[in-house]
Amino acid sequence: MLNIESLTLQRGGQAVLAGVDLHLPKGEFLALIGPNGAGKTSLLRAICDQLPVDQGHIRIDGLTADRDPVAYRQRFGLALAPDELPADLSPRQWLQLIAAARDLPELPAEVLDLAADLGLGEWLDRALGRCSLGARQKTGVLTAVVGSPPLLLLDEPFNGLDPLAAFALKQRLRQWADAGRCSILLATHNLELAERWLDGAALLLGGRIVQRWDAAELRELQASGGLELAMVERLRAAQAAPGGPTT
C-alpha cells in the first residue's frame, strides 16, 4: 500500500527526516510515535506531497506524486487540524466541497453516518468558526474519510474529542482496518491507544524510524511495563548516546 524508501527532508537547513524507510501493508493500522519535533507531522505532510522531498521515494499503490498527482491524491485522505478548516463554511459544506473535489456526485451517506456516531450531527450546519474545538476536530477527521481512500493519514485525531466520540472513532477505524478497506497511519502521543487498538507502532527519533513493534510485540510489552516504558527507555538510551538527539 504505502512504501517509503530512504526519505530525506530538510527544512531551514536542518534535517527533519534522515532516511526514513517505512512499509505499510494493506489493512494495517500503524501508530507513528516519537517525541515532539521527531518529524511525525513532517512525514505525514511529505506523504501528502505538501513538503518537497530532498531524497528518497514515496509510493502509494506504486504511484508517485510527481508522475500522477491526481491519481496519487485519490489514494489517501488526510485529516486536517481544526485551524486549517475555513471558518465561514459549515462542516456539511466543507465536506461537500471535499466530496466534489474527489468527483463524488454527493456527500456519501457513510460520512454522515460517521458524523452522527461522532456526535457532530447538531453542528453540521453551523459555521465552523462558531463550532467547538471538538466539532472542528471531528470535521477535520471526516475530511480524510470522504471518498473511502485506501490510505488514511491522521495526525493526533483524538485531540479535543469527548470519550464517546473518541471510542466511536477508534471502533470505526479498527473495523475498516480489519475489513482490509484501508491502511491507517496515525501520528500520536497516545501510547495506550497504540497498545490496545493498533497493529503496530513505529518510533520516529531524530528523523529516522529507530524501532518498530508489531501487534504481538505490543502485547508482550503490556506484560512488562507497556509501550510507554519501552519508549522512554529507548529515548533515554538515545539521549545518553554520544551525539544522540535531544528531546
Binding site: C48, R73, L89, S90, Q96, A100, R102, R126, A127
Partner: protein, 376 residues
C-alpha cells in the same frame, strides 16, 4: 503604560524583528512598495494639483465647514481605533486575567490622550500646509480636532459594552450557514465565493483612503445631481474592489486546506477566473457610469473599465502562478504597477504591450505548471 498598550508595543517590536530577519525578501518588497508609491504620487500630482488648489480655496473661503469636516473625520478615525482597543480589553485574552477595575478608565484616558495627540498633530500639519503660517485659524482647527477626537474616543470606549452585546446577538442570528444543494466542485467553489463575497459586501468597510483619492481626482466643475450620483457609484466601485479582493483572498486561503485533494491546477484556475471576471464586468460597468456622471472625457469613461478588466485578467494568471506564495504575487503586482504607471504617463503606446507581455509570460508559466511533465 497600560498593559494592552505595552502588548501593542511588543507586537510592533516583534513584527519589526521578524521583518529584519526576513531580509532580503522583505527589503525587496519594501523597495517595490516605495517605488510604487513614488510613481503613483508622481502620476497623480498633475491631476491632484487643481484639486489641492480647490481644497486650499475652500479652506480660505469656508474655514468653518472645512474645520468641521476634518474634525468629524478625525473623530471617526480616533473613535474606531479606541473602540477596538476597549473591545480587546473587555473580550480578548486580557478579560480572563486578574485585573483591577481601575485599569479600564486608565486605558480610556491613555487612548484618548494618544488619539487626541495624533489628531492634533495631523490637523496642525494640514493647517500649516494650507495656511502657510501658524495663525488663529490653524490653532482653532487643531484644537477642534483634538476635542472631537477625545470626545469620540471616550464615548466609543464607554459605549463598547453595549456594542458587544449587539454583536453577540447578531452573531447568533448568523451562526447557521445555508445548506448547499450539491454539485460539482467548480459549482460549490463558486457558491463559496458567492457566500464570502456576500458576507464581505454586507460587512466590508469602505476605504477612507479610496474616498479621499476619488475626492482628489474630482473635476472642480461638476456640480449637483451628476456629482452626487457619480460619488455614489464611485463608492459602489470601491466596495466592489473590496469584494474582488475577498475573492482573491479566499482562493489563497483555500489552497493549503485543499492541497491534499486530487485537484488539478487547471480546475483551480478556471473556477477562480470565472468569479473574478464576472465581478470585474460589474465593476467595469459601474466604473464607466460613475466616470461619465463625474464629467470625465468621453474616451476615458470606457477606457478605465477596460483597463480594470485587463488587470483583473492578469491578476487571475498571476494568482494561478503564485497561489502557493502570496508574497510573490504582491511583489509582482507592485513591480508591474510601477511599470504600468510609468508607461501610462510617458509612453502610452507601450502600456498594452507591457500588459500583453505580462499576460503571455504568466500564461506560459500556467501552461507549464499544468503540463503532465511539470514538476509537481
Amino acid at each position: 503604560m497600560h498593559p494592552i498598550l505595552l502588548q501593542s508595543r511588543l507586537r510592533g517590536r516583534l513584527a519589526l524583528h521578524r521583518w529584519w530577519q526576513g531580509q532580503p525578501d522583505n527589503a525587496v518588497l519594501l523597495l517595490a512598495g516605495l517605488a510604487m508609491l513614488a510613481v503613483l504620487l508622481w502620476a497623480v500630482a498633475g491631476v491632484a494639483a487643481a484639486t489641492l488648489q480647490l481644497l486650499s480655496a475652500t479652506w480660505q473661503n469656508h474655514p468653518m465647514l472645512f474645520g468641521m469636516t476634518l474634525a468629524v473625520l478625525s473623530a471617526m478615525a480616533g473613535g474606531t481605533v479606541c473602540g477596538r482597543y476597549a473591545q480587546r480589553w473587555r473580550r480578548g485574552i486580557w478579560s480572563v486575567q486578574p485585573r483591577s477595575a481601575r485599569q479600564l478608565p486608565s486605558l480610556l484616558a491613555q487612548m484618548a490622550l494618544l488619539s487626541a495627540g495624533l489628531a492634533g498633530l495631523s490637523a496642525l500639519t494640514i493647517g500649516l500646509l494650507l495656511a502657510g503660517e501658524l495663525n488663529l485659524a490653524v490653532l482653532t482647527l487643531t484644537g477642534s480636532c483634538m476635542a472631537t477626537t477625545t470626545a469620540a474616543a471616550l464615548l466609543t470606549t464607554r459605549l463598547g459594552r453595549r456594542r458587544v452585546a449587539m454583536t453577540r446577538r447578531q452573531g447568533r442570528l448568523r451562526a447557521a450557514s445555508p445548506t448547499w444543494p450539491g454539485g460539482a466542485f467548480d459549482e460549490l467553489l463558486q457558491r463559496w465565493l458567492a457566500d464570502r463575497i456576500g458576507a464581505q459586501w454586507r460587512h466590508g468597510s469602505l476605504s477612507l483612503g479610496g474616498f479621499l483619492a476619488i475626492g482628489l481626482l474630482l473635476p472642480a466643475d461638476v456640480k449637483g445631481a451628476p456629482l452626487l450620483l457619480g460619488l455614489l457609484l464611485a463608492g459602489l466601485l470601491l466596495r466592489w474592489l473590496v469584494v474582488l479582493q475577498a475573492g482573491g483572498r479566499l482562493l489563497l486561503e483555500a489552497t493549503p486546506a485543499l492541497a491534499a485533494q486530487p485537484l488539478t491546477a487547471q480546475r483551480w484556475r478556471q473556477s477562480h477566473a470565472r468569479c473574478v471576471l464576472a465581478a470585474s464586468a460589474w465593476l467595469g460597468a459601474v466604473a464607466m457610469l460613475s466616470l461619465w456622471l463625474l464629467g470625465t472625457a468621453w474616451w476615458l469613461a470606457p477606457a478605465i473599465p477596460a483597463l480594470l478588466l485587463a488587470l483583473a485578467w492578469l491578476d487571475v494568471l498571476i494568482l494561478a502562478v503564485h497561489r502557493q506564495q502570496p508574497r510573490r504575487r504582491t511583489l509582482v503586482w507592485r513591480l508591474l504597477l510601477v511599470l504600468f504607471v510609468i508607461a501610462a504617463r510617458d509612453a502610452l503606446p507601450l502600456l498594452p504591450l507591457l500588459w500583453l507581455s505580462a499576460v503571455v509570460w504568466h500564461g506560459r508559466r500556467v501552461l507549464q505548471m499544468e503540463s503532465p511533465d511539470a514538476e509537481h
